[in-house]
Symmetry: C2
Subunit: 213 residues, 2 copies
């Protein structure tokens, strides 16, 4: 399963979420057309994405909603699986992420909060205390952290990720607006709010210009 494109994995998450909704509405089967429309893609893409894994559909009836949802959750590793998460850099954004309840429900459990700022140490978020990031390597190893969420300033992000990788963490969700380099076998996902806002800015400025023609 290692050669699945990231875009496919992303759509699997979206299918999963849409199927949850349909399950709540007690819909038994769903066509690839409907599933595609639900997440903004087409039927051919849905069939192609699901073919990476298995044959799920029944000709003429579509996919069984509950079964497909459970299979996708298992494929994504969010069913009967718990991931241990550390937040490094507990500023406003880091604190908000810990406080957001949605992750726990999906099997992501916060087990460590680290910050280099003495003023932030000792603060509590959802029952966890902010600890000194000087002890990062030891803490990440002892608590068997699977995923590090990095919300530190851009200038120190690479150094922080280097230390996270040394501590044996293989998955990083990076919010720092910079490019992070890691060795093979480590996955970094970037959530770059500035990039998204600039994308909207680009759209606005170009469609505005179009209005003047």
């Amino acid at each position: 399963m290692k050669n699945i494109p990231q875009a496919t994995v992303r759509r699997l998450s979206l299918y999963c979420r849409y199927l949850e909704q349909k399950e709540r509405e007690e819909q038994a089967y769903i066509s690839s057309q409907e599933l595609g429309a639900g997440i903004g893609t087409n039927a051919a893409q849905v069939r192609k994405d699901l073919c990476f894994f298995d044959r799920f559909g029944t000709p003429g009836r579509g996919y069984p909603v509950g079964f497909l949802r459970r299979r996708l959750a298992a494929i994504l590793g969010i069913k009967g699986q718990s991931w241990r998460v550390a937040v490094i850099g507990v500023g406003k954004l880091g604190g908000a992420l810990v406080g957001y309840g949605g992750f726990n429900r999906q099997g992501f459990e916060f087990v460590a909060l680290l910050d280099s700022d003495p003023d932030k140490r000792g603060r509590r978020y959802s029952g966890l205390v902010v600890e000194d990031s000087a002890g990062m390597e030891t803490i990440l190893k002892q608590r068997e952290v699977d995923i590090a969420i990095v919300t530190v300033p851009a200038v120190v992000a690479q150094r922080v990720v280097d230390r996270v990788v040394v501590a044996g963490v293989r998955a990083v969700l990076n919010f720092a607006p910079t490019t992070i380099n890691t060795p093979v076998g480590i996955q970094v996902r970037n959530v770059d709010l500035a990039v998204e806002l600039e994308g909207l800015s680009f759209f606005l400025i170009n469609t505005k210009q179009a209005d003047h023609h």
Copy 2:
């Protein structure tokens, strides 16, 4: 400029950020190899992306760092341009976004905070007071909001975006974990933290399985 792929626009943001760094380091020219490596792509991609707009490079010397950075900032609409932003749903995440200082520097100015929860109304974030979202359409129009950041629960997100669009806002940054449908001419960008975490989960579960072989 309307047929530029979103992936290109995204890379323009990353080039811009990397060039800022090189400008601070007082580097005068940069090759497409170096610029590509800086953001994790290759020289051919850099040349292809920049060709959409203009000929920037000088054969044998590469691109002039400061000039290219300023041109890209202008293309992205983040130079000498200010965008008026409203946050709808001022929970933990919404509040953290307003408090984050980075956006202002790039020309994104918060002008309205709206929430339907009476308990949240009257709270202050960075000098702005949370107002009743019942008056959303009027407030968004009067303050000439360009971009709406939507951080409401998934079940109400579509309804909120429908109202935002009616109020004349054409760009939406959606944090609600759901698919939003909008008319042509409106751009929605999704920041889905659960999708990113599930992508990491998928990576961990599949590489773990690989370890057992």
